[in-house]
């Protein structure tokens, strides 16, 4: 997995399962490019199991798709698998210039041996929608 510096990256996002509370400081600002690192935790198991390693290992069979609305103007996968097809464990989000509500839906697709970059194939392992507010960048 590549991890290149992104121009104007000012903050890192981290989250687990159904919550968005794990944003670096809980606030997302307008006109900012964020680099997001996704971690998948299986909290049905005790102790909680980190499934991310398995996804990295099988990155050629997995794809995380992003569907955005509102004050996030783009959310795209940044990392690539061995076939140079996106994975999405690291993604780049651009927030809009005006503040407002936003949602980003993450869908983890399992596409064993058939991955093309399309989100319409394979079966869905996880689908989570994050809702949050994008607020005005302090001057």
């Amino acid at each position: 997995m590549k991890m290149n510096p992104v121009q104007n990256v000012t903050r890192m996002l981290n989250w687990s399962k159904l919550s968005v509370v794990a944003f670096a400081d809980g606030v997302i600002y307008t006109s900012t490019t964020y680099s997001a690192v996704t971690t998948f935790l299986n909290e049905e198991e005790t102790p909680v199991e980190d499934v991310t390693a398995e996804i990295i290992e099988e990155k050629n069979d997995h794809l995380i798709c992003f569907t955005r609305t509102g004050a996030v103007s783009s959310a795209v996968a940044f990392d690539e698998d061995d076939n140079e097809i996106p994975v999405g464990l690291v993604s780049v989000w651009q927030t809009a210039n005006t503040p407002g509500a936003a949602t980003v839906k993450l869908t983890l697709k399992h596409q064993p041996g058939i991955k093309t970059g399309s989100c319409d194939i394979g079966d869905t392992d996880i689908e989570v929608t994050f809702s949050f507010n994008v607020i005005q960048q302090p001057l």
């Binding site: 399962k17 398995e54 058939i114 996880i126 689908e127």
Partner: protein, 790 residues
């Protein structure tokens, strides 16, 4: 292949030249412990006949070597056919059975099980079954008018009789009630069809004789009787089909023990196959494996019969990989794309998801003739059913099943039957004990249906009276069932709710023989069934179907032990049939109406958001349902060797309360077959057959809602489907075959082509129709070898 065929013909030609037509058959006809004088023996091949003397002995002379079919007749006894290979080493012994249902000769009644004679039944005989070797049981049964199948891909077939299935159909396997995990729509009967010599389907409600499980009908699987064997013999059946590259082998041997009156049979079969294919793509992960075994040991003398039987059914069946829908969006994508998202090259490998099923049976039965015309029968059976379903699971848990359970059941039935000229009857007691355990340690998942204990007992009485051209019949039954579930409340506390069910069934029927060729039958049956454990307690995600299922006791998704939440299912079925049979023509028409109160079915309730997105929640509901329909069967023989058979069935299924069609009701279909029995010199039973199956589009369906339109919008309280019913289709099948008799052995060869035109189609009753087409052209080769057959 051509080379081999020529070689065989050459051998036969040589044999035919060496034939001498001076051979004879010596035999003796008995019934019970008495010798039968005056019985007629008729050789179909030569038209020669003989009559038995005072000692029951007969001799047929001037016969050629080879296979002969003898027909043995004596008034008051069931006529039987016997294949005899001349020259015969020893005197053949023929035992006739008293005809208990003389008036119902129109029906095929080879089954020795005492049952209603005013019910509608049809059977698949040995010859037909031979042509279906290698097919799953449920697929073979579709040859009978009015019998369909709920399918999950190309190898899982669940029988549907007049629109009813699962808990409402009883399977009687070699005289014992099959106790498996029949509640799931993707659970096929755990039976090896190779054990059967005859499969009979009773289409009426036989709840009086067999209990509530027989509300929708009974499938009777009969192996050949053990005590009729006359020496060592057996058969090897092999088949290969091009679509899925499946090979099947079955070997059966039977014989007599050195000790008098004891006989045995051992049978084993195996199946190995890979992915099926449609005309355009492979159905990845639809391979299957099967290994089955059975053994029987029987003792029979004039007054009693004792039998022991063990069998073991073991199967691993792959489920189409693309049918694993993650959530509603995935399901939508599958429906829109018209092509499965997962298509790989052909493979024999079976990956997740798949099912692994083992069913073991031990049975013993005893029958004794008492004084007069009474006999007593007792059957005990022990069955162990293991079912494991392996799903697609994350984090290398794929080798851990998502469902793993064991059902241990014991059955003990005893009945007292009497057979007199004017009246026949049966009285009996049936008991069942069932223990179901989930292996949650292995699965790590809350089970879909809980552990349970069940004890059930029923008492029944049936009586038949013959008066002039009429047969009247009436029966009644009382049942008690104790059910204890071991389940968890939402706070994870173990609770053990228990239930006591009392219920009654009754049946009345009449048969009128209009003349020697035509008869009219009418039967009215009332049956009653408490909901099954799965209908009460189901709770969880059914991965293959991407649905969450909730039982009647989970009104708001949370378990509530309240008996007012459900009622017993009650069915009133009226079945009428008219049958006519003449030399070249036979016809049977039946009409039925089944009104079911508190009919249990799965209805969509809402959508639920989970970590994997939206899932539809289906809740078991009860409603008033009407199932009515007609079955027509026609058989016409012309120009001596040609036979035309037509079978038509139509079913109307309506949810009366909601005033909308019932979902998953078989569409109308017409099955026609033209066969030509080729009169060819040394080849025996050679034929050429063309079969055309037309399945209409199911016009009466609930409305269609696209899966994505459901997301977050709980649908109204109505039944719907995710996809429109598929279009009508017509399939053409061709088959040819012949038998080569070689002394005491014979070889049968058959070649068939199914879906000759490689037609693309989807079947409304196949749950995988949301994801993929049905299977394309398929060539089948069958080779059977019978040795020392009798």
């Amino acid at each position: 292949m051509k080379y081999h065929l020529l070689l065989l013909l050459f051998v036969v030609g040589k044999l035919s030249m060496g034939q001498t037509c001076k051979l004879e058959i010596l035999g003796q006809v008995t019934a019970g412990n008495e010798r039968l004088p005056g019985a007629t023996i008729f050789d179909r091949l030569t038209n020669k006949s003989a009559t038995t003397d005072e000692q029951g002995n007969f001799v047929l002379t001037g016969l050629c070597a080879g296979k002969h079919i003898l027909e043995i007749r004596f008034i008051g006894y069931k006529s039987i056919e016997k294949e005899v290979i001349v020259p015969v080493r020893e005197k053949i012994k023929i035992t006739l059975e008293e005809d208990q249902t003389q008036l119902s000769e129109v029906l095929v009644t080879a089954s020795s099980t005492a049952r209603s004679s005013t019910q509608l039944s049809s059977a698949l005989e040995e010859e037909t079954l031979n042509q279906l070797h290698g097919k799953p049981l449920g697929e073979s049964l579709q040859r009978i008018a009015g019998v369909g199948a709920l399918q999950t891909g190309p190898s899982i077939f669940k029988p549907v009789i007049h629109g009813l299935h699962s808990q409402r159909i009883l399977i009687l396997n070699n005289g014992i009630r099959q106790e498996g995990q029949q509640w799931g729509t993707e659970h096929a009967p755990e039976i090896d069809p190779f054990v059967a010599k005859q499969i009979e389907v009773i289409k009426g409600a036989e709840a009086v004789r067999y209990g509530a499980d027989a509300m929708g009908g009974v499938i009777i699987i009969s192996p050949p009787p053990l005590h009729n064997t006359g020496g060592f013999g057996g058969a090897i059946n092999t088949s290969y089909q091009s679509n899925s590259r499946t090979s099947t082998v079955s070997i059966a041997t039977e014989g007599l023990l050195p000790t008098p009156s004891w006989s045995w049979r051992i049978q084993t079969s195996g199946k190995y196959g890979g992915d099926y294919n449609t005309p355009e793509y492979t159905l990845s992960n639809t391979g299957q494996r099967e290994f089955n075994f059975s053994a029987g040991l029987g003792y029979a003398n004039a007054n009693s019969e004792l039998e022991f039987y063990v069998s073991s059914f073991n199967a691993r069946i792959g489920i189409l990989r693309a049918a694993h829908a993650g959530n509603l969006q995935d399901l939508n994508n599958s429906i829109i794309s018209q092509r499965p998202w997962y298509v790989k090259d052909f493979s024999f490998d079976i990956q997740n998801p798949y099912q692994e099923i083992n069913h073991h049976l031990f049975k013993t039965s005893y029958k004794k003739n008492l004084s007069g015309n009474n006999f007593i029968k007792a059957v005990y059976g022990l069955q162990v059913n293991n079912r494991k379903e392996f799903d697609i699971r994350r984090a290398n848990r794929g080798d851990r099943p998502a469902i793993a359970m064991q059902l241990l059941s014991q059955v003990f039935d005893v009945s007292l039957d009497h057979v007199a000229e004017k009246h026949q009857g049966s009285y009996g007691l049936t008991t069942t004990i069932k223990i179901n355990n989930n292996d949650t340690e292995t699965t790590g998942i809350k089970p879909l249906i809980p552990d349970y204990r069940q004890v059930a007992a029923g008492l029944f009485a049936l009586e038949k009276i013959n008066w002039r051209a009429f047969t009247f019949e009436a029966g009644a039954r009382a049942d008690y069932q104790y059910l204890q579930a071991l389940t968890f409340t939402n706070t994870e506390t173990l609770i053990k709710p228990d239930f006591h069910f009392y219920y009654l069934s009754a049946n009345a029927g009449m048969r009128y023989a209009i003349n020697s060729q035509a008869s009219l039958t009418s039967n009215l049956s009332f049956s009653n069934r408490p909901p099954h454990i799965s209908e009460l307690f189901s709770q969880g995600l059914h991965h293959g179907t991407a649905t969450i299922e909730e039982g009647l006791l989970l009104p708001n998704g949370t378990l509530k032990i309240d008996e007012s939440l459900f009622k017993n299912e009650r069915s009133i079925k009226w079945l009428n049939s008219f049958a006519k049979q003449s030399k070249n023509f036979s016809f049977e028409a039946s009409l039925y109406a089944n009104l079911i109160d508190n009919y249990v079915f799965l209805q969509p309730k809402e959508t639920r958001l989970t970590i994997r997105g939206y899932f539809p929640v289906f809740a078991y509901k009860q409603t008033k349902a009407l199932l009515a329909g007609a079955d027509l069967t026609l058989n016409y023989t012309f120009l001596q060797n040609f036979q035309l058979t037509g079978k038509y069935s139509y079913l109307y299924g309506q949810d009366v309360t909601a005033n909308q069609p019932l979902i998953y009701m078989p569409p109308a279909q017409l099955d026609t077959e033209l066969s030509w029995n080729i009169p060819y010199l040394s080849l025996y039973k050679s034929f050429l057959k063309a079969r055309v199956l037309h399945v209409a589009k199911q016009a009466r369906t609930p409305r269609t809602i696209n899966p994505v339109d459901l997301e977050g919008n709980p649908p109204p309280n109505e039944t719907f489907d995710f996809m429109d019913a598929p279009q009508a289709y017509t399939l053409v099948n061709l088959e040819t075959g012949f038998t080569i008799p070689t002394g005491e052995h014979d070889i049968t060869f058959a070649l068939a082509c199914e879906n000759l035109t490689n037609q693309r189609y989807r079947n409304y009753m196949n749950r995988l129709r949301y994801f993929a087409d049905d299977i394309g052209r398929n060539f089948i080769v069958r080779l059977s070898y019978n040795f020392y057959s009798h």
